[in-house]
Amino acid sequence: MTTYPAGADQEPHQLLADHRRLARQVRAAQRVTWFPLLVLAAVTFAAVPVYGLGGFVRTCRDQPGGGRVCAVYSSAALVYWPIALVLAYVAIAGFYLRRARARGVGTRVFPYVGVGIALAVVAGGALTWFVTHPPVGGYDLVGLHLAAGQGAWLFQLFSPGAAIGLALLVLALVERSWALFLLAVGYVVLAFVPLYDLGWVIARPSPWASLPRLVIGGSVLLLAGLLFAARQRAWRRDAA
């Protein structure tokens, strides 16, 4: 049994306050959110020449009622994204681990890295399948029939932007960061916004048609990375 000295009723308040302060300090020491954001921004910007200068794969299928439906996509990008994202996540895991070890704490980044790599591989495979199987009358997937027009929605679901945003949601959860959560949600939404709604269109068949999405997506990540770097530096200064 624990007894309290008279007049020590503030002690539990103090202990709880210390508990919260120490937990905040550890989180501040563990967070290096700016690094994945800047790495993913670099990967996104590096994709620009891949789309622009690489070749294109064009797959056409005959429609039952006549005519043909074709899918066109950068063949280099299909190879680039899974490889670049997996390498990026390996670099992110290594950086987090090094930083955490140097600061004397563990890291929580591995769920993010695992989900990120899984999404990169799944999205890369799914994108390749969609590009080589253009919708003829729609898609039948896991008991659902999706009209041909809904193919674009599926296409965006497996886009690199959605894969990056969904993985960032996991990072927001493990880092318990509302700011990152809002950014990740915004990034996923951005991945689903049709290009013409972004207000900057380079029409196909130009090989640079993906430029607006890549530049806008990369810029969002770059800006967010710089803001997080400044904010986390201030946190650590305050926590010290």
Binding site: M1, P12, D18, H19, A23, R27, G104, G106
Partner: protein, 104 residues
């Protein structure tokens, strides 16, 4: 008397430094000796004593490793340590609730 939240407090955990060690080890997953010493503002000897108490109670495990040629000591919370920390925090909240309720 047995219903009072203070009766549910564990003497091993209900101590400022040891609660701090458990908090940091829980949040950090694993924590280096030097980080604890710096953030809890303790001498190495004092910290070692508290770690010994927690280790004997089965709440933490202490392991040695190397960073280059430098020996480093890492502290990890056991499942019993996690449960003890959670119980302590719950009891503290109950106690605060009761004290504040009485005062109000």
């Amino acid at each position: 008397m047995t219903g009072h939240p203070a009766n549910g407090l564990d003497d091993v955990v209900h101590q400022r430094v040891r609660l701090g060690i458990l908090t940091i080890a829980h949040e950090a997953r694993e924590v280096e000796f030097g980080y604890l010493r710096e953030n809890l503002e303790l001498t190495a000897g004092n910290l070692s004593q508290h770690l010994g108490v927690l280790e004997r109670a089965g709440l933490v495990t202490i392991g040695k490793g190397y960073a280059g040629k430098r020996a480093r000591t890492w502290i990890t919370l056991t499942p019993a340590g996690t449960a003890a920390l959670r119980a302590e925090i719950n009891q503290l909240k109950l106690l605060i609730h009761q004290v504040d309720g009485t005062a109000g």
